[in-house]
């Protein structure tokens, strides 16, 4: 199956455990928020998110991470794709990811850059907006 041009590479199982490490951690229990700073690394399945500052919002039951909001230059890497932007907001429950500010998505030889990206990691679909620029090679894949 050819390299899919979409977000299948970023497809995620929202149920997978989320592991978070950082230099500093401050928890605001009653607001249900934690602020991590300094080489923050968030891992879920084979997706790794790095950013200098991440804010994690917990669900009402306290334990389940509902949303991750990373700022200051975010990089998301998966097995096949990579995405960079100034800021990213990832809703773990729905798999909805919004990245904004010089977004650059690279998938194998093709790259797509734009101002803002909205993706549904569960369905593997997404939309890039704002003077989107795409580089794709013109050789159709062998065999079709």
């Amino acid at each position: 199956q050819g390299t899919a041009l979409g977000f299948s590479g970023l497809k995620q199982d929202p149920g997978a455990p989320v592991e978070v490490t950082s230099e500093t951690l401050s928890i605001d229990r009653d607001a249900g928020r934690a602020i991590l700073e300094g080489d923050v690394l968030v891992i879920q399945g084979d997706m790794r998110l790095t950013a200098p500052r991440v804010e994690v919002i917990y669900g009402t039951e306290g334990q389940q991470i509902k949303e991750i909001h990373a700022q200051g230059g975010v990089t998301i890497v998966t097995a096949a794709d990579a995405a960079e932007a100034r800021e990213a907001r990832y809703d773990v429950a729905t798999g909805g990811l919004v990245m904004s500010g010089n977004v650059l998505l690279t998938q194998g030889p093709s790259t797509i850059s734009g101002e803002r990206m909205v993706a549904d990691l569960r369905a593997g679909t997404g939309r890039m907006e704002g003077r989107v620029k795409t580089l794709f090679n013109t050789e159709p894949k062998a065999g079709n």
Binding site: G6, R127, M128, E129, F136, N137, T138, E139
Partner: protein
């Protein structure tokens, strides 16, 4: 596999559907190796590498061709695919439109059920002046040719011609093999005919144009023009072979011209012309010359040296002139060398002319041949005197060695020496008025002496035709050649007045006369140069800033009886132009002019509506009180069509050359091949 150049896609928004397609929307641009495609939506499927495009689409090729379409399916590299309701615009001029257009390997563009035209199509009148509708049009971008299959030429929407298959060069090609614009002619000598030139480029430095002409008075003529460029020069051959009613055998002509640069600053120039019969050039409207000259010339010109060696053969096709009694073969060597005079200041000019002419007939007197050598040495010095007087003195001598053969009236060898001297004073005055008008007034007086020879010594073969104007009012001899040299003591005096207005208008008036103290009748009595006081010679030049031009010259005697007058007038404006000339000359048997000559000629053009220009010309001879020539013409020029119509009538006729009326129509579909020079007035769509 070698990684091919990537294509760049830019859009306001790109949607990724997760499968393998990418949907770009909003101001989409796809750029690949110089080709730019703009559309509202592009769907890219990475597995097939194809683009599905929704219009309006604009595809701009690297060579400037623009393709417009409503929808298209193209390969990612934009080189293959199909466009719907496409329009191709080439060189911002030629347009091809079709319901469907196919791109093949980025080289061929195939349009089916297509229309080609370079005329502007306006919303209010959609039918272009001309269009070519074709079952199929193929544009080969590599060969830069356009091929039409069962095509139909329509003028004003009306089908005019049907052509199963033909080919035209696209606008970017200027030296393409193919048919040039045809010319329709209808002349009283050839009948109604058509000439279709065919151009064949032979490499980068040579080309051949064939000009077949068929006309109703069973005229079959094949014209030819061959041109070749060399590193140091070029040659051009023109000619034709024809058959028509007037002669049983074939007729034709051949002309060759060429010029080359030789080492050490020399040049070589040759031109020759051969005609099968006297009336041919006029019958085929090629030239009105009545003398066919062939010359071979080698020379060099520098500031202080002139070298010219020339061999000339001339054949007269004038009625009543027997070539055997004319000096057909003329050879000349001219060498003038100027250098500083040692010690005494001024300049020394050494001149040598070796001349020989042959008449093929051997009869006495009528077959006279001559060989002559002339040597001259002249010293000249110019001074600027304190009061602003320009003084000049010239002192010199000329030695003529003449050998006359086959003319018993003259001894076979005659040597003459002609010492000569003259002094000239010139005193220019100038002023510039407050309003910026400047005037220059320049009186000139010159005292001349040269030894006078009696006219009977040698035959006068080169100095029969004497002119008198402000160009030879001063100087040693008003005879054009060497066989006669003006002699005796005389004073040449004249004055010229130049006025220049700030706006650029200028006026020049000059007058002068010769006062003779000896040698009173060296010229023809009619020339006004004889006697102790010559006729007045006067000239008037007017040039205005807004395009009016007047140049007149007149010689008249003290009682203002005009012996020669010539005018050239012209008005050149954007919308119209008029040129007129008039000549008056007393009868003068020594110049073969047996009756007074008085002739007017007029040439006018006027711009009618924005694209139409009307032309008219005429020549009237008061001597015989009849028009000798008249012509009218009409020209239409816009961005896509050039039509030229001309009707000329030549009334003059002789036994060999009958009076003739010529009509010619030529039409040129612009937009194919290189753009014609001159700016085409593009019609504007009136809203």
């Amino acid at each position: 596999a070698q990684q091919s150049d990537p294509a760049t896609l830019v859009a306001d928004q790109v949607q990724l559907t997760g499968t393998s397609t990418l949907i770009a929307k909003g101001g989409v641009e796809v750029i690949h190796k110089g080709a730019v495609l703009r559309a509202t939506e592009v769907r890219y499927d990475s597995t097939t590498g194809g683009l599905e495009i929704l219009g309006p689409i604009t595809l701009t090729e690297p060579d400037g061709t623009v393709v417009l379409a409503s929808a298209a399916e193209l390969s990612a590299d934009l080189r293959n695919g199909i466009l719907q309701s496409a329009r191709v615009v080439m060189d911002r001029q030629l347009q091809l439109a079709a319901s469907e257009m196919q791109r093949v390997e980025g080289r061929h563009t195939v349009l089916s059920r297509a229309v080609a035209s370079s005329c502007q199509i306006c919303a209010d009148n959609p039918t272009p002046l001309w269009e070519i509708r074709a079952q199929r049009i193929i544009h080969d971008q590599l060969e830069r040719q356009i091929y039409f299959d069962n095509a139909q030429l329509r003028m004003f929407g009306v089908p005019v011609a049907y052509l199963p298959h033909f080919r035209m060069p696209d606008p970017s090609l200027d030296r393409a093999r193919g048919i040039l614009s045809p010319r329709l002619i209808s002349t009283s000598r050839l009948g109604f005919g058509i000439e279709v030139p065919y151009f064949i480029p032979l490499g980068s430095s040579r080309d051949l144009t064939l000009l077949p002409l068929l006309a109703s008075k069973d005229v079959q003529s094949l014209g030819m023009r061959y041109r070749q460029a060399f590193r140091t020069g070029q040659i051009e051959l023109n000619g034709a072979a024809s058959r028509d009613q007037s002669l049983s055998r074939g007729r034709g002509w051949l002309a060759a011209t060429g010029s080359f640069t030789l080492p050490r600053g020399f040049y070589l120039y040759f031109s020759g012309r051969v005609v099968s019969d006297d009336a041919y050039l006029r019958d085929y409207d090629l030239s009105e010359d009545d003398r066919l000259d062939s010359t071979l010339q080698i020379g060099r010109v520098r500031r202080d040296e002139l070298i010219e060696a020339r061999l000339r053969h001339s054949h007269s096709i004038r009625e009543g002139e027997a070539n055997s009694r004319l000096p057909q073969l003329i050879a000349d060597l001219d060498w003038q060398r100027r250098f500083d005079a040692p010690g005494i200041g001024g300049k020394l000019t050494f001149g040598i002319n070796i001349h020989s002419h042959r008449r093929s007939s051997d009869e006495n007197i009528l077959g006279r041949d001559m060989s002559q050598a002339r040597l001259s040495l002249l010293w000249r010095r110019d001074w600027l005197l304190p009061q602003g007087i320009l003084a000049a003195a010239e002192l010199g001598t000329a030695v003529d060695l003449n050998r006359v053969s086959q003319d018993s009236r003259y001894s076979s060898r005659v040597y003459t020496a002609t010492p000569m001297m003259r002094a000239e004073l010139r005193w220019p005055w100038a002023r510039t008025g407050a309003t910026g008008i400047s005037d220059v007034l320049e009186p000139v007086v010159e005292m001349v002496w040269s030894r006078q020879h009696n006219a009977g010594d040698i035959p006068n073969s080169d100095s029969e035709l004497v002119e008198f104007d402000e160009g030879n009012l001063f100087g040693f001899s008003r005879f054009p050649g060497y066989d006669r040299r003006e002699g005796g003591r005389r004073i040449n005096a004249g004055v010229s007045w130049t006025r220049i207005y700030p706006g650029g208008t200028s006026l020049i008036a000059s007058a002068g006369r010769v006062f003779r103290f000896s040698g009173y009748d060296q010229f023809s009595p009619v020339s006004g140069l004889n006697g102790d006081r010559s006729s007045w010679v006067s000239a008037l030049h007017l040039q205005t800033a807004n395009g009016i031009r007047f140049q007149g010259r007149a010689t008249f005697d003290d009682s203002f009886d005009l012996s020669r007058g010539e005018l050239r007038m012209g008005i050149a404006r954007a919308r119209y132009g008029l040129d007129a000339s008039w000549i008056w000359a007393d009868a003068d048997p020594s110049e073969n002019r047996l009756v007074d000559t008085s002739e007017w000629s007029l040439d006018g053009r006027v711009k009618l509506a924005s694209n139409w220009t009307a032309l008219a010309s005429g020549r009237y001879d008061f001597g015989v009180n009849e028009a000798t020539r008249a012509g009218v013409g009409l020209e239409y020029l816009n961005e896509c069509l050039k039509v030229e119509m001309a009707l000329t009538r030549k009334f003059s006729g002789t036994a060999a050359i009958r009076p003739s009326t010529n009509f010619s129509l030529s039409m040129d579909l612009l937009g194919f091949g290189g753009r014609p020079s001159g700016s085409a007035a593009t019609r504007s769509c009136s809203f």
